[in-house]
């Protein structure tokens, strides 16, 4: 091993720590904005924006109860697994014009795999709780995972196929490549409609991935008393809260990277550090807008679906919309 690669490894480790810290802080901050906006939409005053931070610090000092019939090492390990896997995805996502930290080491297919890990962490934790409520919640989470995977993969396949037709020599699944070639510029009018349908598909998958209303059946507080999280308290619950906050950033960043990879620094004729700062701020604005549409607005506007309705919604209407988008993009390429 040469000294250069050692230096690179050091940079990657420090970068990973910085990204993990920023991801958690920004995630909690955005969660606070989300709660505030939801409250304002319901004509309430709402909690202060730093409320998720206070919740986190409070939960850290609470007693950590492990139920008698739980499996302790799985029960305590699941929240860490959920948090670590969601932070890992952050390392593969581009921010503004900064390419991802681990850009050469994984692509969007890996992200699809990694996206299932936080959910699996919750499922394992739910089953290890030894509580009937948590078991039912974990089963629902598994049903949801099986349901939203197909539409999610359809979106990714559509992007990969289109890019492979236009740029056959590029690594089509790499997020850097997808980021450099926005889908809207590659397609004709028919494909443009297809891309809008794909965006709708991803926007429908996002609340399911994040377990937000209307797809929060696994954590349904009114029927399952917190579902998967029912037995969790103290530090473990705080870690799950962090994982949830990071997952919001992950899903919105993914949407931004796929559909809105535009930067504004070249419009303002900036360069160097200024361009970096402006693009990063613009990126934060973009993920805020995506979060507002995909999470906050939907969460306030609709009620919770039953688990069979969730499954149906993902397998039939959302999948059909996704396939329609894929077909329109294919037709667009074949006809032209």
């Amino acid at each position: 091993m040469t000294s250069i690669s050692l230096f690179e490894i050091l940079v990657k480790i420090i970068g990973a720590i910085v990204i993990a810290f920023l991801g958690v802080v920004i995630g909690l901050f955005y969660k606070g904005i989300d709660r505030k906006l939801a409250a304002r939409m319901q004509a309430r005053v709402g909690p202060p924006i730093r409320q998720p931070f206070m919740d986190f610090f409070k939960l850290m000092i609470k007693e950590n109860i492990v139920p008698q019939n739980a499996v302790p090492w799985i029960f305590n390990g699941a929240p860490i697994m959920a948090l670590v896997s969601s932070i890992t995805i952050l390392l593969y996502l581009p921010v503004g014009n900064i390419s991802p930290l681990l850009s050469g080491y994984g692509d969007i297919v890996l992200i699809i795999y990694l996206l299932t890990l936080p959910a699996i962490g919750m499922v394992v934790g739910g089953f290890a709780s030894g509580s009937p409520y948590a078991s039912v919640g974990a089963q629902r989470e598994m049903v949801m995972m099986m349901s939203y995977e197909l539409p999610l993969v359809t979106v990714v396949v559509a992007f990969g196929w289109k890019l492979s037709q236009v740029y056959p020599h590029l690594n089509i699944f790499s997020l850097t490549v997808i980021n450099a070639h926005p889908i809207w510029e590659l397609v004709g009018p028919l494909g443009f409609i297809g891309a809008i349908l794909l965006f709708i598909t991803l926007a429908a998958v996002t609340p399911g991935e994040l377990s937000k209303v209307p797809f929060d059946a696994p954590e349904a507080e009114t029927e399952l008393a917190g579902g998967i999280l029912v037995e969790y308290s103290g530090r473990n619950l705080a870690l799950f809260g962090l994982a949830d906050a990071v997952k919001i950033i992950v899903m919105t960043s993914l949407t931004v990277a796929l559909f809105f990879p535009y930067n504004i620094s070249h419009l303002l004729a900036l360069s160097g550090a200024f361009a970096l700062i402006v693009d990063t701020l613009f990126f934060l604005v973009k993920i805020f807008l995506v979060m507002f549409v995909e999470v906050t607005f939907i969460r306030v506007a609709v009620a919770r679906l039953k688990i069979d309705q969730v499954s149906f919604a993902y397998w039939v209407p959302v999948s059909i919309i996704g396939f329609l988008g894929l077909m329109l993009i294919v037709l667009d390429t074949i006809i032209v």
Partner: protein, 149 residues
Amino acid sequence: MKLNKYFERSLWVFHLNTGSCNGCDIEIVAGLTPRYDLERFGIKLVGSPKHADVLLVTGPVTSKMLDRVKRVYEQTPDPKAVIVVGACGTSGGVFYNSYNISGSVDKVIPVDVYVPGCPPRPEAIINGVLQAWIKLENLRESMKTAQAK
């Protein structure tokens, strides 16, 4: 067990009905409506006692609920506070000395704050939760002095 300053700004409340007539429960739910909006103080109604900092108990303890009340209290992680809402939970109310009632809530679990009324107004319940803040604040102060000594 230690307390930090974030604790009072983020009280999660678990609502336990030990045989109430639903009058107090409706008033608690009214506290979450846009008119009173408990969430602006960081107060959240949670579905599981494991998540809770404050137990909001309504109603006299019926014989059937006696064991459950104790278990829910034990399942709530420390540090915690207990608030009794309504005349029945405070003293037994109209069910005082009834054959199927084990008595008021404070006969079963330690109670920190009483909110009397039949039912109490949402303002009174919010005030009760604020009193629980003060209790936790005092707990924090006493721990500080204990540590200093």
